[in-house]
Each structure stands twice: as C-alpha cells, then as structure tokens.
Symmetry: C2
Subunit: 220 residues, 2 copies
Amino acid sequence: MTPARTATGNATGRGRRAARSVGDERELAILATAERLLRQRAFADISIDELARGAGISRPTFYFYFPSKDAVLLTLLDRVIEEADAAAGDVLDRLAEDPRARWRELIGRFHETFGAHRAVVLACAQVRGTNAEVRHLWAAVLERWVQAVETAIEAERRRGAAPDGVPARDLAIALNSMNERVWYATFAGDGPAVAERDAVDVLRDVWLSAIYRDTDPPPA
Amino acid sequence: MTPARTATGNATGRGRRAARSVGDERELAILATAERLLRQRAFADISIDELARGAGISRPTFYFYFPSKDAVLLTLLDRVIEEADAAAGDVLDRLAEDPRARWRELIGRFHETFGAHRAVVLACAQVRGTNAEVRHLWAAVLERWVQAVETAIEAERRRGAAPDGVPARDLAIALNSMNERVWYATFAGDGPAVAERDAVDVLRDVWLSAIYRDTDPPPA
DNA sequence: GAGGCACGTCAACACCATGTCGAGTTCCGT
DNA sequence: ACGGAACTCGACATGGTGTTGACGTGCCTC
C-alpha cells in the first residue's frame, strides 16, 4: 500500500493528502511546474521526473502527492472548468434582453478563460484520447453546458424569437462541439484556424444563424 | 542504418519497402492486423509486438516494414482520406442545382466514409495530440477541404443565394471543425453526441443556416 | 551453376519511463 | 521524550521501444 490517502481539506480531492502542512506547498509546486512546462512542450513529452525535480522533490516522492502524471492534469483541468463556469455566470438567463450581445458575451467569456489557460486546455484535448478520466470529466462538463444551451434555445423558441428546427439538444451539441474544435485549432496554431481575435465573432455568427436564422434577432 | 528503404511501387510510400515480393503480403497483414485490433481497443493500448505477432512476424521484423507504430496508422489514414476524397467527388461544383440536397450529399458522403472506418478515424484523433506527422497530414487535408468549401461559399454569395457575413474562409473552418468534432463524439459514443442517424441532418441544417441564413436556399 | 546482392528474419541487447517497496527522517501533539 | 503521522528517497521490478549484427534464402547474372 502507499502512504497517506485521506484527502480531507483538499479543495479538489484529486491529490492524495490531508489538509495543512509542508506538503501543501509541494503539491502546489508540482501543479505550478506542470503548468509552466506545459507552456513549453506537449504533455506527453514531460516526464514525472521533471515534474518532481521542478517541485524540488524526487520522483518517488511525486507519487506521494499524485497517483500519476494524468492526475496532475486532471487537477489543473478542474480549476479551469471552475473558472469557466464562474466566468459564464448567469448570462444565459438574460438572453432575451439582447440575444446578439448576450450570446457574444457567453462565447467571449469562454474564449477568454480557455485562452488564458490554453496550455492546460490543449494538453487535456491531447490526453483525452488516452486517458479515460480526462475524457469522462470533460464529457460531464460538456453535458452540463450542452444542457444549459439546450434550455436557452428552447426558451428562445418558446418566446417566438427562434424558429423551430432540429432538436434543441442536437443543435446545442453541434454548436458546443464547433466551439471546442475551433478554439483548439486557434490556440494550437497548427492547421487551418480562425485568427484568435476573430474567433468569437465568427462563432457568434454561426450560433445566431443556427439558432435564429438571423444574425440580429429581436430582444424581448 | 536500417535495411531496405527504396519504397518504389509502394502506393503510399509510407512503408519502407520496394515493390513486389513476399514482404508485400506481410505489410498488408500488418495493416489488416492494425485495423482489426483498432476495432477492439485504443491505439495506445496496442503494442508493436501484437502488430507483429498478428502479421506472423517478430517484433524486430516489424521495423523492416514500418519505422514505427504511428507510421502504420498514417498509412491507414492515407487510405481513408483517399476514399473520402473520392466519395466527395465533384458535388461542390453542382451546388447551385439544389443547394439543400447537394450540401446534404456532401456531408452524408463524408459521414459514411468516416463511419465505415471509424476505428481509424478515432485512433487518428487520439494520436494527433502526440504525433506531429498525423497532425500535419490531417492539417493539410483539412486545409484542402476548407478551401473547397470556402470557394463554394464565395460562389454562392456571388450568385446572390448566400448573404455576406463573416469571411468565407472563417465560416468554412468553423463548419468543417464542427463536423469533425461532432463525428468524433458520435463515433466514439462517449460524452454528449448526436445520434448517428441524425448527425447528417443536424449538421446540414447548421451549414445551411450559417451559409444562407435559410434552411432551404433557392437553386440557380 | 556459382557467386553476389537485395530481401527478409530474428535473438539479444541497450535504453528509458513508469510504478512500487521498504527503510528511513522530520515534525507535531501529548 | 516519545509515538505516530507526514513526508522522503534509493533501489528495484517491469514493460515497451528501437537497434545491432548475424544469419537464411531466393533470384538474377555472367
């Protein structure tokens, strides 16, 4: 068996330690090292040894804090998701005020949050293929966002601002998928991509067209 | 240095051997084994040894045929892309005949091709994060498709069927990105996804809305 | 028909990253 | 000052990758 494992005061519960003490800063140091290294190279090219050295500990000690390299990324992803949720706020509830402006605000906030943590986002997208935990966490988060958008689209249809068409859920999935992939390409910078400063406007226009069949739908 | 390396009569040039002979069937056997194994588990969980055994050769011998596991996937991807290009044909040139039907035809053909080789497509998406060659090949192919769509959108705008809006290239990128991600989710089956039989219709409607701001644009 | 050469094959090896074990050390509360 | 939890790491086991070098084996040539 491995040492300690209670994970009590731990905000995310992804690491394996209890609250207070020396190790807290070590755990943070590992996280910080990971985010720094990710800005330089791909996740797969970072070894556990580097993460450990960067945090001033030996490789075996790394395992005291995290069960694997992937767990570190998962913790980083948790934070970004939390930040994105906070940034999105209740914009969707105020859609009818001014649909064009509100949708842009929503998309723009995600764009900013992901852009600020592009290294983490990119790494997760890359690892998603091989790591089931990242895949499931991302799937769960996406499901939440899809449902929120689905509900918003239905509300807009109900008030007569948006025409009927394909099921709101399918539309929500397609649009969220588009954003994800477009951001990935934009932030990764390889392959055809929309310029970073145009991305939000392009995305918004496709969303408006798809939902309202109009790029400037009427407010309530 | 490694043995043989001319790669002459080799259709794709991804392997390392010259034309004819015993080895030809071995190379094909490796490819077939890979595609079969890919239907059962993720690319990362397949070892070179399994590929070799499956083709009736030893692991070192595998290296006689392919420089790495990734090269096998690359060859498989080449084939799928070729098939997709063939399936797409000249549909885009006949858009004005009946835009709604033609766009559906185009999207539907890609859907069928990718669906028929989902194991390869999924594996490539997963490996793209870690393998630069797959990433570049995919980027190049996408660029071609994006350009074709961009040209088509511009033609539709010129003939007055589609309204002006965001740059045609950006629109083409966004729509192609959407398709890619939606298909990935649909074929992978984890996370929110559009049902396989609805995917083409949903995608088509978003394309039509985004390009024409109308789900049934007029023919020439 | 013998010699040469390109094709094809593999045992054995070197390497490197991951993960584990067990024996420490340090720190804190009592 | 002591007992246990937090923390640390040297040394090892494992498993996959890629390389080396020597060995068949068929076929083309002269």
